[in-house]
């Protein structure tokens, strides 16, 4: 297998859907603040994780456990427990970001394979080399800000595997260091595992459409027939220079299906699909489509029309190849 397809699962049933649809690996997290998708009703108990790993292994797939938030001072216990539970469940790897968590894993769980989360925002040979040399990290998930050419250059200078996002929510911020959500709500993906925590999100139907509020701030409005996006500040609509615009980022989903061949040529080991917060319908459809993309490239077959097939699932009704094709840098 040349390219590994790493797929999201927010629930045990989504894990089974991903495996059944052709995922080579599934990533998921425990139901607490130790992972960056800490939403109500989502994620796995330790017992569910063990069953999930067994199901995946029985079907030839791997399970990677995301423990990728940053513990606050004096609150290390949940991360310690999560690492022990991942090893107990016989996970194939853990995805970590915090140096203390990496150190604890390397010291106390030497049998666990360590992947560096995108939350660590490591995108230089020096940073990646540090994590590889210090903690024996085997794979790094690349931030979504690099072009294909930059990834190819990076891969020539490092000795660890790289994993690149190819579909789903697009975060252009320095991940693990973004404070936009904290600014408005006091909670962030970095420490609490939630960007725009749902208890702060409100959708209000108004005469001309839907207003989106975060912690009392109106951050966007969608007209009645206008496609909507996630309620995050980075995708909010702001007035700047006299113009009302999505200043930081448009509501749009990444779709790099057309670049999978080039990413493989650039030395990328694994392709990641974002969306642990999404439903089984999304997981099954996206995994099936990308598995077809990967299989077609490996077999030299006709390209799969992934943009067309996945058009109904994307945020804001739009798709982009993101920074992979960015010209202006």
């Amino acid at each position: 297998m040349a390219i590994e397809l790493v797929c999201p699962a927010g629930t045990p049933s989504a894990l089974r859907s991903a495996v059944d649809a052709g995922a080579h690996a599934v990533y998921c997290g425990f139901a607490d603040e130790t992972n960056a998708r800490n939403f109500p009703g989502l994620n796995f108990s330790p017992a569910e994780m063990t069953k999930g790993v067994r199901y995946a292994h029985d079907h030839g797939a791997k399970v990677l456990v995301a423990i990728n938030t940053f513990p606050k001072a004096g609150t290390f216990e949940p991360w310690r427990k999560a690492l022990a539970a991942a090893e107990e469940a016989q996970a194939d790897a853990v995805i970590l970001a915090d140096m203390a968590v990496l150190d604890h894993a390397a010291t106390h769980h030497p049998g666990l394979r360590l992947h560096l989360s995108v939350q660590a925002a490591a995108n230089t040979p020096e940073a990646i080399g540090f994590y590889a040399d210090t903690f024996n990290v085997k794979r790094v998930v690349l931030p979504r800000v690099l072009s294909v050419e930059e990834i190819a250059k990076l891969n020539k200078e490092i000795d660890v595997e790289t994993e690149a996002f190819v579909f789903g929510g697009l975060c252009p911020m320095t991940e693990g260091r973004c404070s936009l959500s904290s600014y408005a709500t006091g909670r962030s993906p970095n420490l609490s595992g939630v960007c725009s925590p749902p208890e702060h999100v409100e959708y209000v139907e108004e005469a001309d459409g839907t207003a989106v509020r975060l912690a009392g701030f109106t951050i966007d409005r969608f007209g009645k027939d206008e496609a909507a996006g996630y309620p995050t500040l980075c995708k909010g609509c702001f007035v700047a220079g006299g113009k009302s615009t999505h200043l930081f980022e448009d509501p749009v989903s990444l779709n790099a299906a057309g670049l999978v061949g080039r990413l493989a040529d650039a030395g990328v080991t694994a392709l990641k699909i974002e969306g642990r917060q999404r439903g089984k319908g999304y997981v099954a459809e996206v995994v099936k489509t990308f598995r077809a993309v990967v299989d077609a490239i490996e077999a030299g077959g006709d390209p799969v029309k992934a943009e067309q097939l996945l058009a109904g699932l994307v945020e804001g009704g739009r798709q982009t190849s993101g920074a992979y094709r960015k010209q202006w840098r």
Partner: protein, 179 residues
């Protein structure tokens, strides 16, 4: 206009639904909810503190809505007027709402495409959505029947839903490949 529009129930089905008395529907759905709590209590753990919330689900092609309090064995489903308020409101065409129940449709995609609209407590809404995602509900679960009767009900109802989708007005998929 958005590319992906939502199908509405055909007029005869809407008229039939409007003629139904509410109490048998309430009784069947409440009993099914409590039976599910009995059979799969772990699903209701996903709701956490939100299990006492009032979820108002309004199929936009029907003249009534459902009020659901999924509080385990004390759970209750009531047929209410469409304008009834609760902690959480979910609105959309019945066939799309059913697609959310069985997990064949993705809630975020329906929201992005404005097929469904939501308001109220977003944390409770997400907890319910994720609990339903894990539930993998079949039509028989909504009727509270199992075994051979359940399998017969599933087959019959799924055929009926497919037929309704075929007659839906206007007929189009909200999410290609789903349902």
């Amino acid at each position: 206009m958005l590319e992906h529009q939502s199908p509405e129930l055909p007029r005869p089905a809407r008229l039939l639904a409007a003629a139904l008395p509410s109490w048998p529907l309430e009784m069947v759905l409440t009993r099914a909810l409590r039976a599910l709590a009995d059979r799969r209590p772990e699903l209701f753990e996903r709701l956490g503190v939100h299990s006492r919330c009032v979820f108002v689900v309004r199929p936009t092609d029907l003249d009534f809505a459902f009020s659901v309090v999924p509080h385990r064995w004390q759970g209750r489903v009531s047929v209410v007027r469409p304008e009834t308020r609760g902690d959480v409101h979910i609105e959309g065409p019945l066939l799309r709402l059913l697609g959310l129940l069985d997990g064949s449709l993705d809630g975020d995609a329906l929201f992005f495409n404005r097929v469904i609209s939501v308001s109220g407590r977003t944390d409770a809404l997400l907890a319910l959505r994720n609990a339903i995602e894990e539930a993998e509900l079949a039509p028989s679960d909504l009727l509270g029947v199992s075994g051979r009767v359940g399998r017969f009900a599933d087959a019959a109802i799924l055929r009926a839903i497919q037929a309704l989708q075929g007659m839906a007005e206007p007929a189009a998929n909200a999410t290609p490949g789903a349902l």
